[in-house]
C-alpha cells in the first residue's frame, strides 16, 4: 500500500468512478438528442406559423376548427373504440384458454396467436383486399358494404392488435392465487360466481391495460388505414398527408401532438396497473394449476382453433396473393411478384436496407440498452442522473412512431442543427428505431439486472477487480438470455415498423416496409403482398433460429443454472 494515497484521491481511484460518470453523461446526451430534443422541436413547431414565429395555440384552434380534420378525430376514436371492444374479449377468452384450462395443443395455439407480431401491419390490410375487395374472393359476405373504410380498418386492426392484448392478458391471468379458488370451492360457490368474483377482478388490471394498449395501437397505426382506409380519414393518415402531401409541417405537428394524448394516457394507466398487479400476488401465493374439465377444454380448443384459423387464413391469403400472377385474371402461381425490380425502382435493395437496418438496430441497440440499464441499476453515485436516464428511457412508450418520425424530421432536418449530417443516413433510421422501441428493451434489461445479487460489484471492488471486468465476466453472461431477447425484439420490430421511418427514409435508405406502402400506392398490390410476406418470413426465420440457438448454445453457456 503506497503511503501517497493517504487522505486523498489518487489517479487510479478516480479511474473507475470517472469511467462510470463519463459513460453516463455520454449516454444521457445521446438519449437527449435521440428522444427529448426531437420531441421538443415537434412541440415548438406546433405553436409556430410557417415563418417560424410563435403563434400560441392558433394552429390548434385552426385544427379543431377545420371540419375535415375534426371528422378524422371522430373517425379515429370510432375505429379504435370498436377494435378495442372486439379484440379485448376475444383475447381474454384466448388467454383464459391458454392459462386456465387443460386444453390440448396450448403451445401451438400460443404460437399461432403471435404470428401477427411478425408481420408489418400492412399485411392484414392487403389480405383483406384480396378477400373482400372489389374483386375479392368472398366479397359477398360483406352484403354490398365496402371493405375500403372503417370495416376494413377494424378487421385489419383486430388481426394486428390481437397478440398484444393476448400477451398482456396471459400475464394477468397466469398470476392467479390458487388459495382464492380453493376457498371459493370450499364454500360451494357455483363456477359462474367464482368467475365473476375471483377471476374477473384479479384480471381487471390486465383488462384495463390491454384495452388502453389496443386503443393506442389503433389510434397511432398508419399501415392499415394507408392501405385499406379509402376515403375514410383517420388522424395517422392526416399527419402523413399534411406533411408529405401539403408540406404543412405546423399542422402535421399539431395532429402529432394530439396523437400523443391517447398514448400518454395508455402509458400512465400501464404504469399504475403494473404496480397494482405485482401487489396482487403476495410472496405466499400458491400458483393455480388448472384441472381438466373435458367439456370446457374442448370448447376452448374449438374457439382457439377458429381464431387461429382466421389468423392463419389471413396470412395464407397474403402468401397466396403474392404468388398469383394476376388476380383475378391469371390464377397461375409463380414468383413473378417477387421480382420487385418490375414494380419499384429500388427492387430488392429496400429489403436489404431493412435487413441492414434491423441488424444494426439489434446490435447497437442491444449494446446501448444493456449498458444504459447497467448504469441505471448498478452504477454508484450520481443518483439523480441515473434516475433521469431511467425516466427518459420510459418516454418512448408514450410516443407513437409517427410522432417520433416527424419529430426527427423537424429536429435533424433543421438547418442549424450540428447533427444535421445524420439526416438521410441509415444511422439515423437505426437511431430512430432504437429510440422508438427503447422502453420495452430497457425494462427487459433492468428486470434481468435486478435479479442479480446487488453485492457482485461490492465483491469485485473488494477484490480490486475493476467493475468493467465483472461486467464482462459475470453480468453479461448471466444476463445472456435477456440480451438475446432484447436483440430479437429490436430486430423483428425494425423489420416490420413503418410509422416512424416513413418520414425519414431517403432514396438511398428506403426500407422494405416503406416499399410496401409505395408499391401499394402505385397499384402493385401483389408485389406489396410479396414484400410483406418476405418480411414476415424473415422475422419468423429469425425467431426460429433464436429458438434453435437457445436450445443448443444457450443451454451450454448456461450450464451453471442446472442444480
Amino acid at each position: 500500500m503506497s503511503p501517497i494515497a493517504i487522505g486523498g484521491r489518487t489517479r487510479s481511484v478516480d479511474r473507475e468512478a470517472w469511467a462510470l460518470r463519463i459513460a453516463l453523461t455520454l449516454m444521457l446526451a445521446i438519449m437527449a438528442a435521440a428522444i427529448l430534443l426531437p420531441l421538443w422541436s415537434i412541440l415548438s413547431k406546433s405553436v409556430e406559423d410557417r415563418a417560424g414565429a410563435f403563434v400560441g395555440l392558433a394552429n390548434y384552434a385552426q385544427f379543431f376548427g377545420t371540419p375535415a380534420l375534426a371528422q378524422s378525430i371522430a373517425n379515429s376514436l370510432f375505429v379504435a373504440g370498436l377494435t378495442t371492444l372486439i379484440v379485448v374479449p376475444l383475447a381474454f377468452v384466448y388467454a383464459y384458454a391458454l392459462t386456465r384450462t387443460c386444453m390440448p395443443a396450448k403451445g401451438l395455439m400460443a404460437g399461432i396467436a403471435l404470428i401477427p407480431i411478425l408481420s408489418p401491419s400492412m399485411l392484414p390490410a392487403i389480405a383483406l383486399i384480396y378477400l373482400f375487395g372489389n374483386q375479392g374472393m368472398i366479397r359477398e359476405l360483406l352484403f354490398g358494404e365496402t371493405i375500403y373504410g372503417p370495416i376494413g380498418i377494424v378487421m385489419g386492426q383486430v388481426f394486428y392488435c390481437f397478440p398484444h392484448a393476448m400477451l398482456i392478458l396471459t400475464t394477468a391471468l397466469s398470476l392467479a392465487d390458487a388459495r382464492l379458488y380453493e376457498a371459493a370451492a370450499a364454500l360451494g360457490t357455483p363456477r359462474r360466481r367464482v368467475f365473476l368474483t375471483v377471476t374477473l377482478p384479479s384480471a381487471k388490471y390486465g383488462l384495463v391495460s390491454a384495452a388502453f394498449v389496443v386503443f393506442t395501437l389503433v389510434m397511432t397505426d398508419f399501415g392499415i388505414p394507408v392501405v385499406i382506409g379509402g376515403r375514410f380519414n383517420v388522424l395517422a393518415i392526416d399527419v402523413y398527408k399534411q406533411v408529405m402531401g401539403q408540406q404543412n409541417f405546423q399542422m402535421g405537428a399539431v395532429v402529432a401532438v394530439v396523437l400523443i394524448i391517447p398514448a400518454l394516457a395508455s402509458f400512465v394507466v400501464d404504469r399504475v396497473v403494473q404496480r397494482r398487479q405485482v401487489a396482487l400476488l403476495g410472496a405466499r401465493s400458491v400458483p393455480l394449476v388448472p384441472q381438466p374439465q373435458p367439456a370446457r377444454d374442448w370448447a376452448m380448443l374449438g374457439f382457439c382453433a377458429v381464431v387461429g384459423a382466421i389468423i392463419l387464413g389471413i396470412l395464407a391469403t397474403a402468401v397466396f396473393a403474392s404468388l398469383v400472377r394476376l388476380w383475378p385474371y391469371n390464377l397461375s402461381l409463380g414468383w413473378s411478384n417477387y421480382v420487385f425490380e418490375d414494380f419499384d425502382s429500388d427492387g430488392w435493395s429496400s429489403y436489404f436496407n431493412s435487413l441492414r437496418m434491423a441488424a444494426a438496430t439489434a446490435v447497437f441497440g442491444t449494446l446501448f440498452v444493456f449498458v444504459g440499464a447497467y448504469l441505471v441499476e448498478k452504477g454508484k453515485g450520481a443518483g439523480w442522473a441515473r434516475q433521469v436516464f431511467h425516466l427518459v428511457a420510459m418516454v418512448p412508450l408514450a410516443v407513437p412512431g409517427l410522432v417520433l418520425g416527424l419529430a426527427y424530421v423537424f429536429f435533424f432536418n433543421a438547418p442549424d442543427n450540428p447533427l444535421g449530417g445524420l439526416y438521410g443516413t441509415m444511422a439515423l433510421l437505426t437511431i430512430c428505431t432504437v429510440a422508438h422501441f427503447y422502453t420495452v428493451a430497457h425494462l427487459t434489461a433492468t428486470t434481468a439486472l435486478k435479479q442479480m445479487d446487488p453485492e457482485f460489484e461490492s465483491v469485485s471492488a473488494s477484490l480490486q477487480v475493476p467493475f468493467w471486468r465483472t461486467f464482462l465476466r459475470v453480468t453479461v453472461p448471466v444476463c445472456l438470455p435477456a440480451i438475446v431477447n432484447i436483440a430479437i425484439y429490436l430486430f423483428v420490430n425494425a423489420m416490420t415498423t413503418v410509422s416512424a421511418v416513413i418520414f425519414i427514409y431517403t432514396a438511398h435508405t428506403k426500407l422494405a416496409s416503406v416499399a410496401i406502402v409505395n408499391m401499394n400506392d402505385s397499384g402493385a398490390i401483389a408485389a406489396a403482398a410479396a414484400m410483406a410476406v418476405v418480411i414476415t418470413a424473415t422475422s419468423a426465420g429469425v425467431k426460429l433460429v433464436e429458438t434453435l440457438v437457445s436450445r443448443v448454445v444457450l443451454r451450454r453457456s448456461q450450464r451453471w443454472r442446472a442444480r
Binding site: A461, S462, V474, P477
Partner: protein
C-alpha cells in the same frame, strides 16, 4: 446452551487493550441517510489479529458501519485509519479487505475455482501460481476436488466457505463478515462458526463479523461491540459484556436479566416497590433518583439463606423450565408484587432442596451482584 454456559466453556480472553497499536481506528464516524442518522459518534480501535463482533438489534447500524469501513457506503463524516493509512476517502478498490455477504454473492456462472481465483487473476500472477493458491484455499475450506462445480451445485454451508475462501484469496489485512451464517440452519451454523474462528486464529487476520445472534458473538469474538440506535453502547470482551454490562440496554440485550425499577433511597439502598434492596455503594447516583437494578438469573442464592441474609426474599415457585444443567424458575414474591423474577438453580439444588412448582423458598441477592443503572429499561 445458555449464554452463561458459553462463557464458562471459553473462559477469559485477551481484551485487546494490552498496548498493541490499533490496526484499524474509526474516529467520530457519522452516517446520515437524508435526515435519518444511521450512525453517530462512532469511535473504535481494533488491534491487529483481533476478532471483533458487531452485535445489536436489527436496524441498529451494524451493516452500515461495516460498509463504511469497507468504503461501500461512504460515511458522512469521520475518519477511518487502517494500518497507519487514512482510508476515509478511498473507494473500496483502493482499500485492503476481503468481505463475505449474507447472500455470499458467489458468481453463479463461474466455477468454484474461478470464484476463489477471481481476485487473483488481475494481480500479475502466473496461471500456475493462481492454480496453486486456489488449490491451497480449497484445501483450507475442505472442498478439494470441488473446484469444477458451480455454486448452485453446492450446499449452503459449502457456498459460505467458498465465499470465505474468495475473500481470503488475496490475503487481505482485514476480513469483513456481514451475518455470514444467518442463511444456514442451526446445526451447520454452529459448526461453521467454530471453523471460521479456527481459520481466523490460524491466519491471524483482523476480522470484523456482524451478527444479531448474541450467542454467536460471545462464542467467537475476542471483543464485542454492542450497538443500539446507531451508537456504540459498549466495547469489551464477551465475559465483561455479560458480567459488567455498561448500560441497561446491554444488560437487557445480552443474556437474561431481571429488571427491578425503583428509587435510590440511600447510598446503599434502592427501594423497589415495598422492598429495600441493598446494593454496593460507589456510583455517582444521588438519592431520590429513579434507577433500575439488574440481576442475572444465576446470581440468585438458594442454599444457606436465612431471613437476615442481605436481600433475602420470600417467594413461591410459580413455574419451572428444565434447561439441561440448570432449571429456570419463575418466582413470585409478596414483597415484590407484580414483579416475577427469573432465577436459575443447579440441578443439584433442585434435587437436594426438592424444588418444584408451588414450593415456598427463600432466595437471596448478593449486593455485589446487583448492578444499578439510572433510568428505566427501554
Amino acid at each position: 446452551m445458555t449464554i452463561a454456559g458459553v462463557i464458562d466453556v471459553h473462559g477469559a480472553r485477551p481484551n485487546g487493550s494490552d498496548g498493541r497499536p490499533p490496526y484499524l481506528t474509526v474516529a467520530g464516524l457519522e452516517k446520515r441517510f437524508g435526515s435519518f442518522v444511521a450512525l453517530s459518534g462512532i469511535d473504535l480501535a481494533i488491534p491487529e489479529g483481533e476478532f471483533v463482533c458487531f452485535l445489536g438489534p436489527s436496524g441498529c447500524g451494524k451493516t452500515t458501519l461495516l460498509r463504511a469501513i469497507a468504503g461501500l457506503d461512504r460515511q458522512s463524516s469521520g475518519t477511518i485509519v487502517q494500518a497507519g493509512r487514512d482510508i476515509s476517502d478511498l473507494p473500496p478498490s483502493r482499500r485492503d479487505f476481503g468481505i463475505v455477504f449474507q447472500s455470499y454473492a458467489l458468481f453463479p456462472n463461474l466455477s468454484v475455482a474461478q470464484n476463489i481465483g477471481y481476485g487473483l487473476v488481475n494481480r500479475r500472477l502466473g496461471r500456475a501460481a493462481i492454480a496453486a493458491r486456489v488449490e491451497e484455499l480449497l484445501g483450507m475450506i475442505g472442498l478439494v476436488g470441488s473446484g469444477d462445480k458451480y455454486p448452485a451445485q453446492l450446499s449452503g454451508g459449502q457456498q459460505q466457505r467458498v465465499a470465505l475462501a474468495r475473500a481470503l484469496a488475496t490475503r487481505p489485512g482485514l476480513l469483513l463478515l456481514d451475518e455470514p451464517l444467518s442463511a444456514l440452519d442451526a446445526r451447520v451454523r454452529l459448526r461453521l462458526r467454530g471453523e471460521i474462528r479456527e481459520l481466523q486464529r490460524r491466519l491471524g487476520v483482523t476480522t470484523i463479523m456482524v451478527t444479531h445472534d448474541q450467542e454467536e458473538a460471545i462464542s467467537v469474538a475476542d471483543r464485542i461491540v454492542v450497538m443500539n440506535h446507531g451508537r456504540i453502547e459498549q466495547v469489551a470482551a464477551p465475559e465483561a459484556i455479560y458480567r459488567t454490562p455498561a448500560s441497561l440496554f446491554v444488560a437487557g440485550f445480552v443474556g437474561t436479566t431481571n429488571f427491578m425499577t425503583g428509587v435510590r433511597s440511600a447510598a446503599d439502598r434502592v427501594r423497589v416497590g415495598g422492598f429495600d434492596l441493598q446494593v454496593t455503594p460507589g456510583d455517582a447516583m444521588g438519592t431520590g433518583q429513579v434507577c433500575t437494578a439488574c440481576v442475572r438469573p444465576e446470581d440468585f442464592v438458594i442454599r444457606n439463606v436465612c431471613p437476615d441474609t442481605p436481600n433475602a426474599i420470600q417467594a413461591t415457585i410459580e413455574a419451572v423450565e428444565f434447561l439441561g444443567a440448570v432449571v429456570r424458575a419463575r418466582l413470585g414474591s409478596p414483597q415484590l408484587p407484580d414483579l416475577p423474577l427469573v432465577a436459575d438453580f443447579s440441578l443439584n439444588a433442585v434435587t437436594d432442596l426438592d424444588l418444584a412448582r408451588g414450593r415456598a423458598v427463600t432466595v437471596a441477592l448478593p449486593p455485589e451482584r446487583v448492578r444499578i443503572f439510572a433510568g428505566l429499561p427501554e
